[in-house]
């Protein structure tokens, strides 16, 4: 009998610990997320796709903007997964570079702009919840995550563009 009671205690204990965690997530994260998502979605709708596209076309020409600002704009305004459609503005052999760059930014951007990839925020919020639990502010981490993300995005875009061109050249 004691074994059964012990098992039942363990079971309800797991449920309780999980529920406490869920309460924390719902009260701590969802209100912020809903306000952010609503505000940014509304701003995106008010600015309109055409204006963003017109601006994005100007960003494709230079290496430095093509692999930093362009992926950022794509993710911010079109979000994962429709952001990749912006790749149609870049030159054919630069497309893999642009796609790789956008992939690499898809999570670093969520530290501050969660709407860009809201379905996959737990890469960021999983780790940042540990920081919050220690009583530290997660904002400096979010800022550095985005800065390093942009640097990595730039490097990945260039490296992938280089390798793609080499593969295309040898296969000719």
């Amino acid at each position: 009998m004691n074994v059964v009671v012990g098992l039942a205690k363990g079971f309800t204990g797991i449920i309780g610990a999980g529920a406490t965690n869920l309460t924390g997530l719902i009260t701590g994260m969802i209100p912020n997320l809903l306000i952010l998502l609503t505000l940014v979605n509304a701003i995106i709708a008010l600015i309109g796709e055409d204006k963003v596209n017109a601006f994005a076309k100007k960003m494709t020409k230079f290496r430095i903007t093509r692999y930093t600002i362009l992926p950022f704009l794509a993710l911010f305004f079109f979000t994962n997964p429709m952001c990749y459609t912006m790749g149609r503005f870049v030159e054919e052999e630069q497309k893999p570079g642009f796609i790789d760059a956008t992939f690499r930014l898809a999570h670093p951007i969520t530290g501050i702009f969660a709407h860009a990839n809201a379905g996959e925020i737990f890469i960021w919020s999983g780790i940042s919840s540990g920081i919050v639990k220690l009583g530290l502010d997660a904002t400096p981490l979010a800022v550095r995550y985005l800065i390093v993300g942009l640097i990595v995005t730039f490097i990945s875009g260039n490296v992938t563009e280089f390798v793609t061109k080499r593969i295309l050249a040898t296969s000719k």
């Binding site: 797991i14 992939f103 379905g119 996959e120």
Partner: protein
């Protein structure tokens, strides 16, 4: 010769369908967009229809040529992209419409949880219209605002202002609706799932075992670099990618350990990059298709991205480590 017709029904816990599939006009291939080669279900459908099956992960297939596409999407991207393009989509994972493109998924274009036992040949008894039909791209929802007849003077001004306020309010209201939808469909379910994991870890002794296993890996720079290379191995990365589920679970586990003090907080920045060098690797050909890339670009771009990750993955960890100095 009678036309081959294949019927595909949803699996036991699946959603949508059933599909009646046949080759017609330009639609003459079965596409398989799954990480590890051609899915047996796609192979079977293609064999029954006597049409070629194409591995959409390594080759680009034009959406209008697909009779049907078979994916193993976990519920974020691929499961919605093809329905949006008007292609019938079979997901071998039993999911219901979810992800940012869930609104484009319906019972006509999406069927999930299918297995090779739920696809079978049916007799063409003439009851099914097999006339060639072009794949129709789902029309974008347009807010058609009919220009109201011009009114003059004061009343005209009021009407104009009313219209502007109406647009503003409706935009925000719709944004709110989309946001709640996103939270309900994607974020809350993941939170519930994560909480169950955390409950088990925190209450049972598994947490301590896990901490010992994780500490040498995530609590040191060589460990993190090793983790990033592991995630970037070209034949592993497409399997670790889908829905970022594995990355997110590891993120939660590391967060728990950081919160307990097992891993120093400054390691959180390099860790964020170490667990994510596989990002998007399951999605490369689809993303390139969305970018309207040509076939030869896709064929070069997929290996280019998969292999460069072996370099850019650890490089990202090193840069993040440099930037983590002075943090916390």
């Amino acid at each position: 010769m009678s036309k081959k017709i294949v019927k595909v029904e949803k699996g036991k816990t699946g959603w949508g369908g059933p599909f009646t599939l046949y080759a017609s006009g330009k639609q003459n291939v079965v596409a398989s967009v799954t990480g590890g080669g051609i899915d047996p279900l796609a192979q079977k459908i293609a064999d029954l229809l006597e049409v070629p099956v194409v591995d959409g992960f390594n080759n680009k297939v034009e959406p209008e040529n697909m009779i049907v596409v078979v994916t193993d999407c976990g519920g974020t991207a691929r499961c919605g992209v093809y329905p949006k393009m008007g292609v019938k989509t079979i997901d071998i994972n039993a999911i219901s419409p979810s992800g940012p493109l869930a609104k484009f998924m319906n019972e006509e274009n999406f069927c999930s949880g299918c297995t090779i036992d739920t696809a079978y040949l049916v007799e063409d008894d003439g009851s099914i219209d097999t006339a060639p039909v072009e794949a129709t791209v789902a029309p974008e929802q347009e807010a058609s605002s009919e220009p109201a007849p011009e009114q003059k003077g004061f009343m005209g001004l009021i009407a104009k202002m009313g219209g502007a306020v109406g647009t503003f309010v409706n935009t925000f209201y719709q944004a709110g609706r989309d946001s709640v939808d996103m939270v309900m469909r994607n974020i809350l379910p993941f939170m519930a799932f994560v909480s169950v994991l955390v409950g088990i870890i925190n209450y049972s002794g598994i947490g301590n075992i896990l901490a010992n296993a994780v500490k040498p890996l995530a609590g040191s720079l060589p460990g993190l670099i090793g983790l990033s290379i592991f995630c970037a191995i070209p034949f592993l990365s497409p399997m670790l990618g889908p829905g970022a589920v594995i990355g997110q679970i590891i993120g939660v586990l590391l967060g728990v350990e950081i919160g307990k003090g097992t891993i120093p907080p400054s390691y959180s920045l390099p860790a964020l990059f170490a667990i994510n060098s596989q990002v998007g690797c399951d999605f490369i050909p689809v993303a390139l298709t969305l970018a309207e890339a040509e076939d030869k670009t896709v064929q070069a771009g997929v290996p280019a991205q998969l292999f460069t990750r072996l370099v850019t993955g650890p490089v990202a960890v090193l840069i993040a480590f440099a930037f983590s100095l002075g943090l916390y």
